[in-house]
C-alpha cells in the first residue's frame, strides 16, 4: 500500500500547514509572552463562528477572516489587559501562575458555552467555490480546500515571521520575550508591547478560524480537540519560533495522517498528545527553542 502511504504523507503536509496556521497565535502568546493561553483554541472556534456569521450574509469565508482581524486584535488587547491587571501585576509567584491559568481556562470555557447558547450544538459549515472540489495529480486527488488552507497558512506564518524580525514593534516583541527589564531600561514600555503582541496573537484567530471552518464543519466543543494540537505544535516548535511552528505543524500533520491511515481514526487524537508528551519528556525547549 505504498501509494496509500504517499497519499497520506501529502495529505499530512497540507494538514500540517493548517495546524501551523492555527497554532501560530499560541506561539506568540505562550511562546513569546509566557501567557498560559489555554483559551486559544476556544478563540479559534469563536473566530470560526464569526466567519460563519459573515459567510451567511454571502461573504467569502477567507475574506471574512481577514476582515475580522482588527476586531479580534481589540479583543486580544482587552483580554490581555484583564489578565495583566489581575495576575501579572500582583507579582509572579506560583500561586498567581495557577490562578492565571485557571482564569484563562475559565474564559475559554465561557466562550465555548456562550457559543452553545448562541448557536446551539449543531455543526456549522460554509460554502465556497473551493470547497468540495479536488485536483487530480496523477493517481491522487487533493481536495482544493486543503490547498487553500496550505497557501493561507504559509502566507500567515511568513507574514508574522517577517513582522517579528523586520519591524520595530516586532523586534521589541521578541526583545520583551528575552529580557523585560533591559527593554524597559531602553525606554520601551514592556506592558504596552506585550499588549500589542497578544492582540496580534488573538488577531490570527480570525483567519485561522476561517481556515478551520473551510477545512471542515465546526461545533462549539471542537476547541477541546485543538488544545492538544495547538500546544503540541507550539511546544514542539520551540517557544516563539515562527519557522519552528511551520515545521512542527508539518511533523504533527504527517504523524496524524500516518496514524489515521494505518491504525484508524480512533487512534488519531492520541497522536498529537503522544508527540507532546514525548517532546516534554525529551526536549522541552522544542526544535528551535531559545
Amino acid at each position: 500500500m505504498a501509494e496509500l502511504l504517499i497519499e497520506a504523507i501529502v495529505a499530512g503536509i497540507l494538514l500540517g500547514c493548517f495546524y501551523a496556521a492555527v497554532s501560530v497565535g499560541l506561539s506568540v502568546a505562550f511562546g513569546l509572552l509566557d501567557v498560559p493561553h489555554i483559551a486559544h483554541p476556544a478563540f479559534l472556534i469563536l473566530g470560526a463562528y464569526a466567519v460563519y456569521l459573515l459567510a451567511s450574509y454571502g461573504a467569502d469565508p477567507l475574506a471574512a477572516g481577514l476582515v475580522l482581524m482588527p476586531l479580534f486584535f481589540a479583543l486580544g488587547v482587552a483580554v490581555y489587559r484583564a489578565y495583566h491587571v489581575a495576575f501579572e501585576k500582583r507579582g509572579s509567584g506560583v500561586d498567581s501562575g495557577l490562578r492565571g491559568l485557571a482564569f484563562l481556562f475559565g474564559v475559554g470555557f465561557i466562550v465555548e458555552v456562550a457559543l452553545i447558547l448562541f448557536f446551539g450544538v449543531d455543526q456549522r459549515m460554509v460554502d465556497a467555490s473551493y470547497i468540495g472540489k479536488s485536483v487530480a495529480v496523477g493517481d491522487f486527488r487533493i481536495p482544493v480546500r486543503m490547498l487553500v488552507a496550505f497557501c493561507l497558512a504559509l502566507l500567515l506564518t511568513a507574514a508574522l515571521s517577517l513582522y517579528l524580525s523586520r519591524t520595530f514593534t516586532g523586534r521589541a516583541i521578541k526583545a520583551v520575550a528575552q529580557d523585560q527589564t533591559a527593554l524597559a531600561l531602553m525606554g520601551a514600555d514592556p506592558v504596552r508591547i506585550k499588549q500589542w503582541a497578544f492582540g496580534i496573537a488573538m488577531a490570527t484567530c480570525a483567519p485561522a478560524g476561517a481556515l478551520l471552518i473551510v477545512v471542515g464543519p465546526v461545533e462549539p466543543g471542537l476547541g477541546r480537540l485543538y488544545i492538544g494540537r495547538t500546544f503540541c505544535v507550539a511546544v514542539l516548535a520551540g517557544l516563539g519560533s515562527m519557522k519552528g511552528t511551520l515545521a512542527a505543524g508539518v511533523i504533527l500533520g504527517v504523524a496524524e495522517s500516518i496514524v489515521l491511515t494505518s491504525l484508524g481514526p480512533s487512534w488519531a487524537p492520541a497522536a498529537a498528545f503522544g508527540i507532546l508528551l514525548l517532546v516534554l519528556a525529551v526536549r522541552p525547549a522544542g526544535l528551535f527553542g531559545r
Binding site: P36, D95, G97, R99, A102, F103, G106, F109, A114, S266
Partner: protein
C-alpha cells in the same frame, strides 16, 4: 489526637443523617441529585491534595474519574464484583495511574504540567474508546443489582456509600494537611527550589500527593456506572469534570480541607438545581463564570473571604 474527636463526631452525625434520609425522604430524585453533589465533594477534595496543597494544577481529573468508573465496569463484566471490590480496585488502579502521571510529569512546572495532564487524559480516553470489552465508543449498560432490604432502591444505597466515601476522603485530606506531609507540600507550593535545598523530599511528596489524589478521584468514579446504569467515554472523560474539580476548591478555598467541601456543596447544588429548572448549558456557564470571578476577586476562595471577615478564626 484530640483534634480528631470533633471531626469524628461530625462525621458520624453526617453518616447517620444520610442513612435517615435514605429511609425517610420519598422523592427519588433527591438521591439522584444528592449523589452528584457528594461525588463532587470527593472529587474536589482529591483535586485539592495535589492542586491546593502542592500547587500542581491537574486538568485531567476526568481521566482519573473515568479510569475509576471503567475499572469498576471491567470488574462487573469479568465476574460481577460487589461494589466494595470495585471501589478498592478503582482506588488501586487510579493510585497507580496517579503515580505514573507523577513520575512522567513531575519535572515539569506550571502550565507544562497542566498540559501534560490534559494529554494523559486524552490518551486514556483513546485507550478506552478502542477497548471493545467495556463497550468502546458506544458505551455499555450496567444493571443495578437488587438493593439490600434496608434501602428502597439501589440509588439510595449508592447515596449512602458516597457519603461514606466522602467522609473518608475528607478525613484523609485533613490528616495529610495537618501532618508533616502537608507542611512539606505547602513548602513545595510556596517555593519548590527552596524546599529542595533545605532537604524536603520533594519528589517523594509530589508522587505521594499525585497517587493519593488520583486514587481518590478513581474512588469517586467507581460507583458511577451503577448509578447511571450506563457509561460511555465522551461523557465519562468529559472536560466538565476537570473544570468542576478545579473550580470547586478554588471557589471554596484551596488552603484547607474545608474549602473543597464548601465549593462542592455550593456549586454542585447550584448545578443540580439549574439543570432541573433551566438548562444544562447554563449550569456549565455558571461554573466558568464563578471560576473566573473567584480567581480574580477572591483568590483564597470563600474560606479566604470568611477569614477576612472573621479574623483568624479559619485556617488560611
Amino acid at each position: 489526637m484530640k483534634h480528631w474527636t470533633g471531626f469524628s463526631i461530625a462525621a458520624a452525625v453526617v453518616l447517620l443523617a444520610a442513612l435517615l434520609a435514605a429511609r425517610t425522604i420519598g422523592n427519588e430524585y433527591f438521591f439522584f441529585a444528592g449523589y452528584v453533589v457528594l461525588q463532587f465533594i470527593v472529587l474536589a477534595t482529591a483535586w485539592n491534595i495535589l492542586g491546593g496543597y502542592a500547587g500542581y494544577v491537574n486538568f485531567g481529573s476526568g481521566a482519573f474519574f473515568a479510569a475509576g468508573a471503567y475499572s469498576a465496569v471491567a470488574l462487573i463484566k469479568i465476574f460481577n464484583a460487589p461494589l466494595a471490590v470495585q471501589v478498592l480496585a478503582a482506588a488501586s488502579v487510579c493510585g497507580l495511574l496517579g503515580l505514573l502521571v507523577g513520575a512522567l510529569t513531575m519535572r515539569l512546572r506550571g502550565i507544562f504540567f497542566s498540559i501534560a495532564t490534559v494529554a494523559i487524559a486524552v490518551i486514556c480516553e483513546t485507550l478506552v474508546v478502542n477497548w471493545a470489552f467495556v463497550g468502546g465508543a458506544r458505551g455499555t449498560t450496567v444493571l443495578q443489582p437488587e438493593a439490600p432490604a434496608f434501602f428502597e432502591s439501589y440509588t439510595r444505597l449508592l447515596f449512602v456509600v458516597m457519603t461514606l466515601l466522602g467522609i473518608l476522603a475528607v478525613a484523609l485530606a485533613r490528616y495529610i494537611e495537618r501532618s508533616w506531609i502537608g507542611r512539606g507540600l505547602q513548602a513545595i507550593r510556596d517555593n519548590e527550589e527552596a524546599a529542595e535545598s533545605v532537604g524536603v523530599p520533594t519528589l517523594k511528596l509530589k508522587l505521594f500527593a499525585a497517587a493519593t489524589s488520583g486514587s481518590l478521584m478513581g474512588v469517586a468514579g467507581a460507583p458511577f456506572p451503577l448509578y447511571m446504569n450506563f457509561i460511555e467515554p465522551t461523557s465519562a472523560f468529559s472536560l466538565n469534570y476537570a473544570v468542576s474539580a478545579l473550580a470547586m476548591p478554588i471557589i471554596g478555598g484551596t488552603a484547607s480541607w474545608v474549602g473543597p467541601i464548601i465549593g462542592a456543596v455550593l456549586l454542585g447544588s447550584a448545578q443540580q438545581i439549574i439543570t432541573v429548572t433551566v438548562s444544562s448549558e447554563l449550569n456549565v456557564l455558571l461554573v466558568g463564570v464563578l471560576l473566573v470571578t473567584f480567581v480574580v476577586i477572591a483568590p483564597h476562595g470563600i474560606l479566604g473571604l470568611l477569614r477576612r471577615v472573621f479574623g483568624r478564626k479559619y485556617p488560611g
